[in-house]
């Protein structure tokens, strides 16, 4: 294992503690009925992080045992993240019955397209290091592509249809979207530079710092109470006459 610095230790353990606080906030605010998968994800990530931290510092644990635990945790974590994304989609689209069918159809095809791209990407990856090490990054890269793609699709869809977000849902989606996107980039760079390269230590820092930021986003959104419905904005000067004139000019030319 690396001789870790203070910041390494901080970035490893602080998000896990903050996630426990986030889980507490979810329970306190009674959001576990609405976001059960997010609560499960937050608790699992926290416990997994603390467990891996202990294993990393225990001399009785071999490297292989550590990576096996990491692998098992990663698979559960990936599955939970997909469940959280599904939960976000359900939360966003539930109030809009006119879009239910269309959003389902579009989501299905987007997922298929992203999975197809991820499979091609994974199949084309060269495995010149032991799979236990490089496989993690190849899998992370594929999953990052699918998850960030799904979240970008969600944001674009909502922006086009001007759907309103609940603050909690928005916070979860933003945090997850940022993490998935950065994870995709760092995993791609890791696959390219190879696992034992010196640059991978820097990439670890980038991933951990991003994760810390995302956890802070989740925590802040859970701490701040959700506002009431939007207030009425100031009414600006209208330009109906200009628009009519433009239309007439367009029709007459």
């Amino acid at each position: 294992m690396y001789p870790h610095s203070f910041w390494w230790h901080y970035l490893w353990i602080a998000p896990d503690i903050l996630l426990l606080v986030t889980a507490g906030m979810i329970v306190c605010r009674g959001l576990f009925y609405e976001f059960p998968m997010f609560l499960a994800y937050v608790m699992f990530e926290s416990l997994q992080g603390i467990t891996l931290f202990i294993l990393d510092h225990s001399s009785a644990i071999s490297g292989v045992a550590y990576w096996n635990t990491h692998w098992a945790g990663l698979l559960v974590s990936i599955a939970l993240r997909f469940a959280v994304i599904h939960e976000i989609f359900s939360s966003v689209f539930r109030p809009y019955r006119a879009l239910t069918e269309f959003s389902r159809l579009l989501l299905r095809w987007t997922t298929v397209a992203l999975l197809f791209a991820a499979v091609i990407l994974t199949a084309s990856a060269a495995m010149d290091t032991p799979f236990l090490l490089s496989g993690v990054h190849v899998l992370n890269r594929a999953v990052g592509l699918v998850q960030s793609g799904l979240l970008v699709f969600l944001f674009l869809f909502c922006a086009y249809f001007r759907l309103s977000w609940r603050a909690y849902t928005y916070g979860i989606a933003v945090g997850l979207g940022i993490f998935a996107s950065v994870d995709l980039a760092t995993a791609a760079l890791r696959v390219w530079v190879g696992t034992p390269a010196a640059g991978s230590y820097v990439l670890d820092f980038v991933t951990m710092a991003t994760y810390h930021c995302c956890v802070l986003i989740w925590l802040v959104y859970m701490l701040v109470p959700e506002g009431a419905s939007e207030s009425v904005a100031e009414v600006p000067h209208h330009n109906l006459e200009q628009w009519n004139a433009e239309m007439q000019r367009l029709l007459l030319r």
Binding site: L151, L156, R162, V174, L184
Partner: protein
Amino acid sequence: MMVTLALVLISLMALVLIYAVRGKTSPVAEWDDLIGHTRPVDIDAFRNLIDPAEEDFLRQNLPAGEFRVIQRERLRAAVEYVSCAAHNAAVLVRLGEAARASSDPKIAQAGRQLLDSALRLRLYALLSMIRLYLGIAFPGAHLSAGSLADNYQHLSTLAGHLVFMQHPNRASRLPAIL
């Protein structure tokens, strides 16, 4: 190398997109907010632009080259109309959402209907835009976006019902701004 570069770019684009589209909503929650946020759409003019009979008439009476030029112009104008209708629908989405939360069940019901219709119109507008741009690229092909016009008229009627329930004295002004 190329794959890595592409993935890093994709992830950066994803981050930029998430930032760019955050909270993109129109600040409309009441009737008064509609003024200045909407763009008037002459539904009859739009219908005329996308009328297949009109298109056939032009096709039969104009040389092929001239017809293509004119048809492109007409379709570009139709794109503008669709764009305005889509914009108005986006504004009405917000109004519908605000009305849906009303404590008055009648207004809440009208808000739900308005919201559904506005979202449907946004969807149709998106599809119609694709069709219209295809028409601009291939002006010889037959096109119709008639269902959009019908949908827009339906949406205007629903908005009228909602406004009538909230402000009966102002309902007559609605057609002038939608």
